[in-house]
Symmetry: D2
Subunit: 361 residues, 4 copies
């Protein structure tokens, strides 16, 4: 059972390498008669696109999405949706000795060990370019979820400097190039990144994604719990090293009295009022109707211009550094990717819940 598909009822499969002809995605299980245009998807791709500020990699790709099947007269047909982005930036070039060398903290070594061959051009399949197709799938997932469910992500920590939650303003994330909800912190990060770029160094980050309006009942205990699938979804994004739901690791230092989200009467027993959200919207693997809150940590870009020690395919010891485009914090571009994965997990579980329980929310 190979690993390039995600989801069960809303299921997408991606393909393509960084410097191949194109990258693409097939989404199967999309409900029929949803209005869908290329513009609907392009909107989210443009938000993710590298090159939109000097703080993200300077690759100049239009990332123009094409819907090549599954939509007829502006509506989904229920048959597979195929999406393609051509790689315009795939000109033949000098790859130097990258073919023979393993960059530390990259997938170079492990792809070579697993497959005995690797497409070394631009990172091949392991490139973050693959995440463009996650964002495209996420745009379709949002259509499945409908207007009622709203998914937004923010960068909440970079280089060890976290936002102040009392300054959180969702409108801010559109005003700075970091998806930062804290206007003051955005200014601080500006300086941090400039320093890192000058040094040829990089830093990690933490992203938070919040889904509002999620109906209670999504998630399939006990192994396909909603939070388990979210953990997998986020951890599968390039460079992610940790995932948490609700209170997350901080729950480990709580006591039982503080940890329990107390409940008061709301609009009937079906829609009570929770007094806190340590659970992050998931209890026993099933959504409770509260906001679903996920955070994930992204490690620093491993492509840095400071030499690091490594070996080549013959086992010789070398020093290696990455030339070319340089992204001091890949975490920034991970924000729309995290949103997309949240949308895909929720859409999948919405359909799965509908299969078993017949609830058509």
């Amino acid at each position: 059972m190979p690993g390039n598909s995600f989801g069960k009822s809303f299921r997408f499969t991606t393909w393509g390498e960084s410097h191949g002809f194109a990258i693409g995605c097939v989404i199967d299980g999309v409900p029929p008669r949803l209005p869908l245009s290329e513009a609907n998807i392009q909107y989210y791709l443009d938000r993710r696109r590298p090159g939109q500020s000097r703080h993200t990699s300077q690759r100049r790709e239009p990332d123009k999405i094409r819907i090549v099947s599954g939509v007829f007269e502006g509506q989904t047909t229920g048959t597979p949706l195929a999406l393609v982005i051509e790689n315009v930036d795939q000109r033949s070039r000098d790859y130097g000795n990258i073919a023979e060398q393993f960059r530390p903290a990259h997938a170079d070594f492990t792809y070579w060990r697993k497959y005995g061959i690797r497409d070394y051009r631009g990172g091949g399949r392991a490139s973050a370019r693959e995440t463009a197709m996650r964002v495209a799938a996420g745009a379709v997932a949002r259509k499945v979820l409908g207007e009622r469910i709203r998914i937004r992500g923010a960068l909440i920590e970079m280089g060890g400097e976290a936002i102040h939650r009392d300054r959180w303003d969702w409108d801010e994330i559109e005003r700075n190039p970091f998806w930062c909800p804290d206007a003051k912190m955005a200014t601080v990060w500006e300086g941090t990144l400039n320093a890192l770029r000058k040094d040829g160094n990089s830093t990690g980050a933490v992203i938070e994604v919040v889904a509002e309006g999620v109906p209670a009942g999504l998630g399939e205990p006990v192994y396909d719990k909603l939070d388990a699938d979210l953990a997998k979804a986020m951890m599968s994004i390039n460079a992610v090293k940790g995932v948490e739901i609700g209170k997350g690791f901080a729950a480990a230092v709580q006591n039982g009295v503080d940890s329990a989200d107390e409940i008061r009467a709301g609009q009937g027993a079906h829609a009570p009022k929770f007094l806190s959200n340590n659970a992050g919207g998931v209890l026993g693997g099933i959504s409770s109707g509260q906001d679903v809150v996920v955070r994930f940590a992204v490690k620093p870009t491993s492509s840095i211009t400071i030499p690091r020690r490594s070996i080549d395919v013959s086992g010789n010891e070398i020093d290696i550094l990455t030339k070319g485009r340089h992204d001091p914090c890949v975490g920034i571009r991970a924000v729309p990717v995290g949103e997309a994965m949240m949308a895909c997990v929720l859409a999948d579980h919405l359909l799965r819940n509908r299969a078993q329980t017949g609830q058509v929310p």
Copy 2:
């Protein structure tokens, strides 16, 4: 696609409720001709068993495993392995008004919202009793992995007090009731737990699981990355709120120079020497040959004897507290469960890797 199965090539499905007749597990895909006895599985169940110290719940269950199919003359046959534990502790009892009330931080409310019905006896399917079958499956997974791969877990933080890594001694985990590798911290925790029990309160914990001897090449990029599947595996355990691989959330505060695990010549290019293990043994979703290191956070037991506010199924506001058996830190019992899930993920990917690449390590 329902959610009570885990894994693809090594695939197990569990069933059973806390206070039903029995709980069980079917494991499909087990390689044939592995020597396997009930004792091999019982060994791990005994380590998990509640009631083995006064620091874990006092349920007196022998948890006697039976292999009811798939083994013939002491060897696996390649057909499904069926495992069953009868619930001896299922005597009819007075469940009070638990049937009508939602305990905060429990799955009571969400099961009821999703299914419109719930087996309230002892938590039903949402009970931690389900994890016994994970441990059983993990024992079989270890047989698949063979002697070369060694998986061990430890409790590294409880109630906000973390072990000192320079005092880490694997032998210690067998000497205290907490799986604590730091003898001094074990003494501290003893006091912490006594205080919590006296107060009827509880606390969270962090577990670390380490797999040594894992061959390079396991993991299916890009969605079934080894670390993505581990994240799902751990997050699917009851009460887990966060998962991290290698450096985890601390990677977010690292810079690129420190983060990259440098490489030096080892025994040929296939088995180099890594100078650090920030990656936690996984690069690009594929094992590198280094130790695979996972940590997860467990929230405090929600069953506490201090009253919390909630509602009942009619929407009335109530105060509720949990009587009976009380476990001030469920994290302790999660250690063998985390080990088991690590074993299952690795066994699954070992077989999956063998399918595609033909590598029979």
Copy 3:
């Protein structure tokens, strides 16, 4: 991805060997709040049970079903349904040299070649006993389908003698031990079977299963077409060698004019009137609202008392004959099994269709 599960949204996994402790089944994805008792399932098992007439094998098993999880207070809970039948007929016995010999037309040789080990007692996992659990799963599937969908099977050919379709009477199938809808043919078959039993020989048969009341829209083109899944379902039953839908192989000799099922106005465009049913109720892999009609061919019992040539595990040439219980036509017992598989396929696609289209029929 191992092979002991069937279905995707309504998914069952079976386990157990003919002469082990028990056989069992886990059904995941069952909608909650369906009334379900052991008697509901036992009814169908009793119809399949060997030993109910002298024309089927004389094994005296009560085949008493137990529901061990997933039902609470008489209703399904949405969690996995676990069903178990203990093997009372598993007394230790003399298996002679069956362990070393390969019976022709049995799975003895191939299990040994694939797994390098086999549970030879009573055919192990390859025994037709496994089909009891298909019947049990089918009983649950019928609950999912509801009263509106009616599934019935009949034996329509045995030993080369086919029923007359103009004498078809569904009531007859309950009146003879062959599920024969043609009273006259039932008498003929009585003689055929007596002769075969006397000779120690056996014969094949053809079964037809009809599902009435199936709503239009079930089936997932293009690979999980309703008829493709039915073909797999029936072919997976022991001893089945052919499957056809609607006109089946006879369609190969039709011309296009006769083959097309013409359509006339019915109750709106959604429920037209078809003038024939060559298609067997499936067009383009999707149910049309007509009766779904499937036929399958069962080969003669391979356990016969006339010696056949074979080899043993050392490669020596031997003559072999099967002693003990003898079933001159296993096709008879396949009728309720075919019904059950039809029910399971329809239930699965009902839930899958609900997931994607939201149609809750």
Copy 4:
């Protein structure tokens, strides 16, 4: 769980409509380092291509395959293989009132009933054009199987006239436009088809596919039996109404003595000599090492120029006939498709068997 994917370890997903921009296929799980070129695939597509004789549909498509990912420097990389064929014949045209009418025996009605929308242009997703991608996937599957396994198909019956098996000559299938292994029958069929074309009528056919050199041990009992998966594979091809393995429906009229394939000593117990092959190479769902033999029946083309009765989307009764390209026997083009599906099923089970048993044949 949507239905546009086939296989588990060798898994392909197809997309595209008859008159959309393109059709395509993603194959995941392909072993790395297999030499693969577009020419390797094109060879099989050219054999299937419509328009190669006047006996198959006159669509003039070059069907030029492009490998757009998964191959690097002439070898598979282990990452998803993406294949695309652009639809050059997709010019805007007058579709008449096909959008409002349901052609009898087509998928028009059922797609509309299931999805509430349909791409009516050229049959949309239900078009036989989809089978081009099966052939492409099959070409890759043959690479996985290697030279040792040889898969060939033949048309053995058309319009009720069957070949004579004693005149079977595999070389003949390349010499006539029908894949007919019986030179004399090919001449007869020539006349049959000319008459049908003149009348605007069509006929059905039977195809036989034989795989030689299949190792023993492939197939996953009990639900993913090799023959069960073959039955599904063949039945999923457009217009197929019946599938049989080995003796097939004729097994129903055999007796047990004749049916059993007797065994004699061959090259050790692992490779015995079977004296007949009624089983079609599969025992208990597992390949025995004999030739795997499958037959399937194709119904007559439903697109005929003789008017048939039907209704339109408003429920009005109409007469309808299909203009344009006309294929009096779609069964002819199904031969390479049947071969391809055989290859895909075998490749899938080869990898699956390798996962569980470690046998790398």
